[in-house]
């Protein structure tokens, strides 16, 4: 392609010059990203300095940093951050434990493994809407299967979503159930990458199972575990649909995550500018987490090399 253009000269030659090959190949992807992500991102950054309301026709006025000041001094925002941290922390921990145990189980080669693995992978493929609706049904005090089973043993009337703690547990269980398979896939990838001869050597040395795990297996999956934690933290941080469907943030505001709060500020109260400011604070946190994430990925790449 480059050679043909060079003979013709002019703009084509300039464009297809081998020096520009890299830039030329990157351009289409960057253009799409710019139009659909980066430009809107800058737009909302601009909005965060005005007092724009999507529901009113008034010309927005410049407000400087006042939106940020208001958001950061709002006690409710800090409460939402605490709720989010609690949900993220417990959900990610649960995903790690379950995902890890599942991975240990599937690290072996056995007949029909491909099919059995699909049983575990399916939750990941469900939509948030359906998981939300059906888990809400499972928890339902009268019709729900979970409540029925628990009532059967305790003879008590079980209402999970009635208390703040129970509502958080309900959300965490649904989210952890859905995404533990993801952690499993990551850990599984780590387990598969352990060279077989190391295990054989350990066996010849008669090393105990625990010692084998600690000195051989764990170093190989360590950075992948970190990767799983960070990736799931970033994703759970944005958790919206499940919370909105299962509890709508209630009872009270006890399960209102920062994403739900953002949605409310933007689409129920139409405080567009204020929500943009809050969104940028969230984005900042996400960027910090992304940096940690990349650090983990690089660690992993170096270990492999």
């Amino acid at each position: 392609m480059a050679d043909v253009a060079k003979k013709q000269g002019g703009f084509g030659a300039w464009l297809f010059d081998p020096k520009r090959r890299g830039a030329l190949l990157v351009t289409p992807a960057i253009v799409v990203l710019f139009v659909m992500n980066i430009f809107p991102l800058m737009w909302s950054f601009g909005l965060s300095f005005f007092n724009y309301k999507a529901s009113s026709l008034k010309v927005p006025t410049f407000r400087g940093l006042s939106n940020y000041e208001r958001v950061l001094s709002d006690e409710r925002v800090w409460e939402r951050f605490q709720t989010t941290a609690l949900i993220v922390g417990s959900s990610v921990l649960m995903q790690l434990v379950i995902g890890f145990l599942l991975a240990l189980m599937f690290a072996k080669v056995f007949p029909m493994r491909r099919i059995v693995l699909m049983l575990v992978l399916t939750p990941m493929m469900l939509s948030f809407v359906s998981v939300g609706v059906f888990f809400k049904l499972f928890y339902e005090p009268t019709f729900g299967i979970v409540s029925y089973v628990i009532n059967f043993f305790t003879e008590d009337h079980f209402v999970l979503l009635g208390s703040p703690g129970g509502a958080i547990a309900g959300i965490v269980i649904a989210d952890a159930w859905m995404w533990s398979p993801f952690v499993m896939l990551l850990v599984l990838a780590g387990l598969v990458s352990v060279p077989k001869y190391l295990y054989e050597a350990a066996e010849i040395d008669r090393a105990s199972k625990w010692r084998t795990f600690r000195t051989i297996t764990f170093p190989y999956i360590k950075s992948l575990l970190l990767l799983a934690v960070l990736f799931r933290t970033i994703e759970t941080f944005k958790l919206f649909d499940i919370v909105y469907i299962i509890t709508e943030g209630g009872p009270g505001s006890s399960t209102e995550t920062i994403a739900v709060y953002l949605y409310r500020t933007a689409f129920q109260f139409f405080k567009t500018s204020q929500s943009s400011a809050l969104a940028y604070i969230v984005l900042f946190i996400v960027i910090v987490l992304t940096n940690l994430y990349l650090y983990a990925v690089n660690q992993r790449a170096e270990e492999i090399d």
């Binding site: 992807a29 960057i30 992500n37 999507a54 059995v116 948030f128 359906s130 059906f134 054989e200 992948l224």
Partner: protein
């Protein structure tokens, strides 16, 4: 020696039985949803919950045909269109993202630009940000340009949504190839195009498949953007699911379960076929072959 190998990584049918039981327990909420799809409205909300019942296909029928209670006339719903939309939009945007992502990844891997890592970081950040940050500007932008409610709008958005992962993943696959072979081919007079299509692409086909599954799972169920940016003609299934929730008679769990079950089938089969590749997909290709 054979016995030792077995202990390290192989197990027999007994192990299959154990894992199947555990797997099925994990799968049971999905199983319950599928059961619900075969239940009548009365059975779906029976107290106590019913495990055994007379199955009915009515819910699957009413996904596609709605019978009016007053006149008894049967009328086709738009659900067929929504299934087509979901499949068309997801497959096209993931495909587009892979094409653009492959080109970009090849450049990032073989012809590094000035500030290569900065570009890569910015690209990844766009994927990590909460969608709510950009949703208002995108909404306004789509309304101004007339992209709201069109296939192009939502597909371009999903393409952008999938590009970051595609670039990162595919780059890691290109990085694993040996550039010396490519240089040797260049010396022998192969054109750049031939090096790319003849040498590089065939070697990363598994990687492209991984990217495809990964992107498809993430795009298939996207809800928030679809809710705000698709119109009557371009509505996707997750949005249609949410719309069955409203109404005065409460949620029709049987109908919803039938939609969920049908919607699970395509993605389930794609994942099953490309399962081995998915393993690589989730690790950003950091696990070597």
């Amino acid at each position: 020696m054979a016995r030792k190998y077995r202990e390290i990584g192989k197990a027999g049918w007994g192990y299959t039985a154990i894992t199947t039981i555990v797997g099925f327990i994990y799968f049971s909420p999905v199983f319950w949803i599928i059961l619900t799809a075969f239940k009548t409205r009365r059975d779906a909300l029976a107290v106590p919950p019913k495990l055994f019942f007379t199955p009915t296909l009515d819910n699957f029928m009413s996904v596609f045909y709605r019978t009016s209670i007053t006149t008894g006339n049967s009328q086709a719903t738009d659900m067929g269109l929504y299934f087509f939309n979901s499949i068309f939009i997801a497959f096209t945007s993931v495909g587009l993202a892979i094409i653009l992502g492959t080109l970009a990844a090849y450049a990032f891997s073989r012809f590094p630009l000035k500030g290569n890592d900065t570009y890569l970081f910015i690209i990844l950040t766009t994927r990590m940000m909460p969608p709510i940050v950009v949703i208002i500007p995108i909404f306004l932008m789509f309304r101004l340009t007339g992209l709201a409610g069109s296939y192009w709008g939502i597909m371009l958005l999903y393409t952008a949504f999938n590009i970051p992962f595609s670039v990162w993943l595919i780059k890691s696959f290109f990085d694993e190839l040996n550039p010396e072979i490519e240089d040797a081919a260049r010396m022998d007079g192969s054109s750049e195009r031939r090096v790319f299509f003849g040498f590089c692409i065939p070697q990363i086909l598994a990687g492209l498949a991984a990217t495809f599954v990964f992107g498809l799972i993430l795009t298939w169920n996207e809800f928030l953007f679809a809710l705000l940016l698709t119109g009557v003609e371009t509505r996707t299934v997750p949005v249609a699911m949410a719309r069955t929730l409203g109404g005065e008679v409460g949620v029709d769990y049987g109908l919803l379960a039938a939609i969920v079950t049908l919607f699970l089938i395509p993605i389930f089969f794609v994942t099953f076929l490309l399962q081995n590749q998915l393993l690589r997909g989730v690790t950003f290709g950091t696990v070597k072959k």
